[in-house]
């Protein structure tokens, strides 16, 4: 990852941190912190897709919401198209809301059950101050067609649709404000495998047609392989590995990446799978021990891993790895 944003980068995130306080007792005293995001750096190129992969609870959703400024970061910088938006007040954020959108994992919770599909999409169009009702109605139909839905379903309620269809409607709503960056927060994790492929293909088509950039969040490497240009692997609030997609898949360096890849069910020919699969559960992000966050589950763990904070070492080919051992440092 480059330290300076390149000309064509849409989003640059540096040292992003978010700690949630844990409160107990009558007086709600803070007894500790959940380090949900603990120093994350990301860069997304124009028209490119960055895959963000990690197990449940590692802080992926929090990263997405921090980027959208839906929650406030404790530290770090969010640079969108050369503008540092980290401390933008709400009024200045408003025009940028149209530039960055989000689609969600849960196709049931993501649509307002008391609004028709058309009304849900119209919520975005209303913020545009463009055209009147007839224009919005026409645009709703165009957007529905764009996501592969029949345009005449605009007066139906969400409960009449399947999960995949609702996901398409959610995409149409995100597209309504013509964004350039979309945070896809596990958009296919709740869907059947056959439908997952359709939604991913739809996202690819839209990217080609509209020049969108994606931050594509998933909890297994397998899902993002096809769509990502670069992949970041996250563990307990930190990035463990980062690099171009082919390298992450073909020559994984970090023990965590290797463990994740060994869990992929059907190995492709020519790709070795001799690493140990992952044992144990994700530890709690509440007051983690010092040193490498992966120490509790790492097959290669040594004393040094428990003593010192591990750097995010740059490797050739634009890769980065947070493990001293595999790099022989």
């Amino acid at each position: 990852m480059a330290d300076q944003g390149t000309d064509h980068s849409v989003l640059l995130v540096k040292g992003l941190k978010k700690y949630f306080p844990v409160r107990r007792g009558f007086l709600q005293k803070v007894i500790g912190w959940i380090k949900a995001v603990d120093g994350v750096d990301l860069e997304i190129g124009q028209g490119k897709t960055l895959g963000l992969v990690g197990e449940s609870g590692c802080g992926k959703t929090t990263v997405g919401q921090l980027i959208l400024r839906l929650i406030e970061a404790d530290a770090g910088q969010i640079v969108f198209r050369d503008q540092d938006i980290t401390a933008f007040p709400p009024e200045e954020m408003k025009p940028l809301r149209k530039e960055m959108q989000i689609i969600f994992q849960d196709p049931f919770g993501s649509l307002n059950p008391r609004m028709t599909v058309g009304q849900s999409i119209e919520e975005g169009l209303r913020t545009l101050d463009e055209g009147g009702r007839p224009w919005r109605r026409k645009r709703i139909r165009e957007l529905l067609e764009m996501v592969g839905m029949p345009p005449n379903v605009d007066d139906r309620y969400p409960h009449e649709f399947s999960g995949g269809q609702r996901q398409r409607i959610g995409i149409a709503r995100a597209l309504s404000v013509e964004p350039s960056l979309i945070i896809c927060d596990e958009p296919v994790s709740a869907l059947d495998v056959s439908i997952q492929a359709q939604i991913i293909n739809l996202l690819e088509d839209l990217q080609a047609k509209l020049g969108l950039s994606y931050l594509f969040i998933a909890h297994d490497l397998n899902v993002v392989e096809y769509i990502s240009d670069a992949v970041a692997v996250m563990y307990l609030g930190q990035l463990m590995a980062y690099g171009p997609a082919e390298l992450i898949y073909d020559q994984p360096l970090h023990p965590y990446t290797r463990a994740l890849l060994s869990a992929v069910p059907v190995p492709e020919p020519g790709r070795s799978r001799e690493w140990e699969p992952l044992g144990g559960d994700v530890p709690s992000p509440f007051n983690p021990p010092p040193g490498c966050k992966f120490q509790g589950r790492c097959p290669l763990v040594e004393d040094r891993c428990r003593r010192e904070e591990i750097q995010f070492y740059p490797v050739e080919d634009g890769r980065r790895v947070r493990c001293w051992k595999v790099l022989g440092k």
Partner: protein
């Protein structure tokens, strides 16, 4: 491994074009509701009561109404139901319109049927206005607690509101000069808070002022505390006390009932808001740049209304009961006939004129029961756990 060679059009597996005729949530709920016989009976009684009450308003309103609830015919007092008027002692305009006293007459010879009609209208308005006030207060306070609950109230906020509040009370009590001074002081504190709040983070707050920003408790603690305090009082006695202190006008009674029964709605709205604001469609609205105001009223309130609707329906019944109770105890508005004061006058003639007790008693019972059954039925229909979700 995901097969990636399909195109992005929906396959039959995803569910093709919707063929089923379109049904709104309302239609689905209605079909469920219809299956509940008791609730349907409640709804039917409610509709009949509504029509009678609205009709009663027009028929008993004005200088010379069709049915005059206040017309005294002393020579015809305590006539039993269905009895014929004595044509010789009555002037033609004093004759009951139906030709008979359908529900009899009371101790002043007033036609109980006319009085019941007017009482129906009074009960209906008391129920709806009181519950309307309660629900509006509940939505506002519950909504603030649920949406902005984590906001902190600082020493400065408290100081400003105590000064302004004290000043207004001072003005009302006639101490105009002191009152105005206090209000101005409060406004000054508020101005300091707003100006420094805006520049917070840009520079240090000057010494001495920082004490104003000392956070005391959260908005949520304030509002839930207020709810708990209000719940400590037995509502009926609270209302009795207040009604004893103010003129007994029907409007005041409605307002007092409303002001003392908003706690249930506030709790429901707060709880719903706490869970709704975590839902993705609310996050989506925020990400689209929809205003807070629109998110609250267009996205959250409609989804939070089901439990409020249920408690409001049952609340109407208890407001009607409270008003009847107040009238019965003599704290009601004597310028209207209400079911409560018909009952009240009937208690002195329980054996001579039992209809004075039974007619309004039966009416109160039926209407209160109907509202409760209707409310329970609504609760069942609106409870997502009882409905299969697909």
């Amino acid at each position: 491994m995901i097969v990636m060679n399909q195109n992005s059009k929906p396959s039959p597996a995803e569910g093709g074009v919707l063929e089923a005729p379109k049904r709104t949530l309302f239609q689905e709920n209605w079909n469920l509701f219809r299956k509940n016989r008791l609730a349907m009976a409640g709804l039917v009684v409610f509709v009949i009561f509504f029509i009678i009450a609205v009709g009663g308003f027009f028929l008993t309103y004005g200088r010379s109404p069709v049915f005059d609830p206040a017309l005294v015919r002393l020579q015809e007092k305590l006539r039993p139901p269905l009895s014929k008027p004595n044509l010789e002692t009555l002037k033609p305009e004093e004759l009951p319109r139906l030709g008979i006293y359908l529900f009899g007459t009371d101790d002043l010879g007033r036609d109980v049927f006319s009085r019941m009609l007017q009482g129906a209208w009074v009960s209906l308005t008391v129920g709806f206005v009181a519950v309307g006030i309660a629900v509006i207060i509940g939505i506002i306070l519950g909504g603030i607690a649920g949406y902005y609950g984590s906001g902190q109230i600082s020493l400065g906020h408290l100081l400003a509101s105590v000064l302004v509040g004290g000043g207004i009370i001072g003005i009302l009590l006639g101490e105009t000069a002191v009152g105005v001074l206090l209000v101005l002081l409060g406004a000054a504190v508020a101005a300091v808070l707003i100006r420094m709040g805006n520049s917070k983070g840009k520079g240090p707050i000057p010494m001495g002022f920082s004490v104003l920003f000392f956070n005391l408790f959260s908005v949520d603690v304030l509002i839930t505390g207020l709810i708990d305090i209000m719940l400590c009082f037995p509502v009926f006695f609270l209302i009795l006390t207040v009604v004893a202190l103010i003129p007994s006008k029907i409007h005041y009674i409605m307002i007092v009932i409303g002001l003392t029964s908003w706690m249930g709605s506030a709790r429901f709205i707060r709880a719903e808001f706490l869970s709704l604001r975590e839902l993705d469609f609310v996050t989506a609205a925020k990400a689209l740049g929809v205003s807070d105001w629109r998110i609250i009223f267009r996205h959250m309130v409609p989804n939070a209304m089901s439990p409020v609707l249920v408690s409001a329906t049952i609340g109407i019944a208890s407001a009607i009961l409270i008003e009847a109770g107040l009238s019965f105890l003599g704290f009601g508005d004597a310028s209207y006939a209400t079911w409560g004061n018909i009952l009240s006058s009937g208690k002195d003639f329980l054996f001579d004129a039992p209809w004075l007790t039974f007619v309004p008693g039966f009416a109160v019972l039926t209407v209160v029961l109907a509202f409760n059954l209707f409310g329970e039925g609504l609760r069942d229909v609106l409870n997502p756990k009882l409905k299969e979700r697909h």
